[in-house]
Symmetry: C2
Subunit: 414 residues, 2 copies
């Protein structure tokens, strides 16, 4: 098996390293010898493992009929998409860690792989070293999956953990994450929830059989979470986590969202801290199954890529269980219909009891407290089922009555 | 695909139910139609799903060349072993949930399946509905696994959870477990750790490539755990769990044990409560990955069996990654060499400071306290690395000095 690696950054170099380090057992499992023949990168590579393998022109790889496996570890859509498409069209298996690519083009690339009777695999695109794509389509194959929820982004989970455990502000925690190399200089994709959105879209596409495009999914990041919110959450027995979730509604449409969420301390997702990821899969037969581990990092991610390489090497043709249909976006239910329970923090100094107004607008609520709570600050947890539309209406009503909304964080009961 | 189900108890009937309920998606994933042709059971079956399928004589199944898949859900070694062996020899795939059988005869049955180029699969034998066998050999295939540790028995985990959360005694908690159907009338296999031992042996055999027989593995149950131990553990920031674990030592031999253990509250295994199971796998590339879910129950276990049926249906020949060699028992390191940290509770009313004697015998220790601690009761946590042999020596020394050991529970740092 001749392998070409596209991109020699963290993941690409990790793949070459794992292949070298565990070569013997990997070749035994794959049932064939493994050779990294080419490494595509623009920058000069100087380490021993890449020696004599660097190319700067993808057409060298594409034109070598002996290359039967391409590992795409460049990230982004351009030029990764063109390269992956060309590789598949040339009959080469592709393994990628690129969640942006899979979330944007997965259905199309899976169909192309199927047409050529080869494989397009992407275990590393979600959950880093945690096996999740494979268990979802293969090990849980006897189930109808009804729901998936996950802490899918290590950077935001690290930031929230620091806010919860050490009382840091978002800005302080982000600065620490950047200092430790957990957050990039431009942290937008992480802190605004885009990365988590791509991942939940990949999982939902696979679980529900129809491509879920990130553009349509309501996505809220963690930039507005404050230490006050953390304290009120604690008063409710909860921690705040960034959760990506997708559930199949009774109408067959998918309800999907990425947002910060209050999770009760007893939740199996509540204890997933720091840069770790955790993914809960709810099946009709198996109940809740949770997968937990390092969601990022060089070797964990590389390990998932190499597991895919082994799978592709062993497969006789396309793995049929890893497929989903394309969609026109009609597979997503409108947010207004989703059921919701929410924590709301308000500034209100007007006349009359705040609780009475809030109860009138949102139904029965639980009032929350925090140490040092100033006069005029109120926090409530709704306790009766609402739809997002009803929640929105209630908020508008309260704003008309002189309430200023300081925070809205949904509560989830995983 | 014509399927015969051996045993129509909880698991067997669950398999037939899941196959009926999710038939369409299962057949799509398997790539072929699925038909339960025979159900072997001695008792009269009267439900609709089994109608017209019951046989009482295994030779009917064995003699039907159209049966290409046998599901063994009888449990125990006799006659399950004979039936499974005969089925494999006749070229029929076998899927089983029977951990006792796999732990006793796994290497032999895997070799037989390989000889016939078919499959012997047993995802349901460990962790019920939690995918673990498959992820271990396939998804984590790029890793060298160094260690596995798990809460592998739901009955004992339920009992310990009741002891920890509600202060019950072992006897009270066992009675409740029996009342709720979580524990059998004869709970020996669960509470003495035998069930957990079979499961860790299966996982270790797969991870380290050589059959680990339960007979050789030091196994201690939970019958001697008291509410006092639970309180001292709490004082150390720990909970008590029954943990099965196996690690590969520097000499290539396996260190394996089943025992109650103090786990720090922050441990990813500490939050696994009630009847849930959790399994931690430590890989060189992926780090720690944890799998969590319902470790038993009709539909979760059936779901794992059906996932294996799909795998076997899709496989072209034996799945080579699911193999291990037989062994003569020399693959297991002697317990005396294992590193150990331990909690010890003593009765000592002699002259002199207890702490000084204990420190002299076991090295530096942390003294623990509990509410209502009577005079003459002492509890310590060792804080320097010892071997099991050194621990045993220290205990003997203290017993000579008038100490009576009330409890010994190891501490683990997963």
């Amino acid at each position: 098996m001749k392998i070409a690696v596209l991109g020699y950054g963290v993941v690409g170099s990790g793949v070459v390293e794992v292949l070298a380090k565990n070569r013997q057992s990997i070749e035994k499992k794959a049932g064939c010898p493994m050779e990294v023949a080419y490494i595509l990168d623009r920058k000069d590579l100087t380490d021993a493992l890449s020696a004599g393998k660097q190319v700067r022109d993808f057409s060298v790889i594409l034109g070598d009929p002996q290359v039967d496996m391409v590992v795409e570890a460049m990230g982004g859509i351009t030029p990764a998409y063109d390269y992956v498409k060309a590789a598949l069209e040339a009959g080469k298996n592709v393994v990628t860690s690129n969640k942006e690519l899979v979330a944007a083009k997965g259905a199309q690339l899976l169909a192309l792989a199927k047409e050529k009777n080869i494989n397009f695999l992407f275990e590393a695109s979600v959950g880093g070293g945690i096996p999740i794509i494979h268990p979802l389509h293969q090990c849980l194959g006897a189930n109808q999956i009804s729901e998936i929820a996950g802490i899918l982004n290590g950077t935001t989970n690290f930031i929230l953990t620091k806010m919860i455990r050490e009382g840091m502000s978002f800005t302080q925690a982000l600065a620490l994450a950047q200092q430790l190399g957990y957050a990039e200089a431009d942290p937008t994709a992480d802190v605004e929830g885009l990365d988590a959105c791509r991942k939940i879209c990949i999982l939902a596409s696979l679980a529900f059989g129809s491509h879920l495009y990130p553009d349509g999914v309501y996505t809220q990041g963690i930039t507005k979470i404050t230490p006050e919110d953390v304290q009120y959450a604690e008063n409710a027995g909860c921690v705040i986590k960034l959760v990506g979730r997708a559930a199949k509604g009774a109408d067959g449409k998918v309800q999907a969202m990425v947002s910060p969420a209050l999770l009760h301390r007893d939740s199996q997702l509540a204890g997933i801290d720091d840069v770790f990821n955790g993914i809960l899969v709810r099946g009709d037969a198996t109940g809740d199954v949770v997968f937990y581990g390092r969601g990022a990092g060089k070797l964990p991610t590389a390990s998932a890529v190499v597991a895919d390489i082994i799978d592709a090497a062993r497969a006789s043709g396309t793995i049929d269980t890893l497929q989903w249909e394309d969609s026109d976006g009609n597979n997503l239910a409108p947010v207004s219909q989703y059921p919701v329970t929410a924590y709301l923090r308000w500034a209100y100094t007007g006349k009359g009891e705040a609780e009475a107004f809030v109860t009138q607008a949102l139904g029965p609520c639980q009032q929350l407290r925090r140490p040092g709570q100033p006069e005029g600050e109120w926090a409530f947890l709704t306790t009766q089922p609402l739809t997002e539309a009803e929640l929105e209406q209630g908020i508008q009503q309260l704003e008309k009555q002189g309430f200023e909304m300081l925070s809205l964080i949904r509560q989830l009961d995983y």
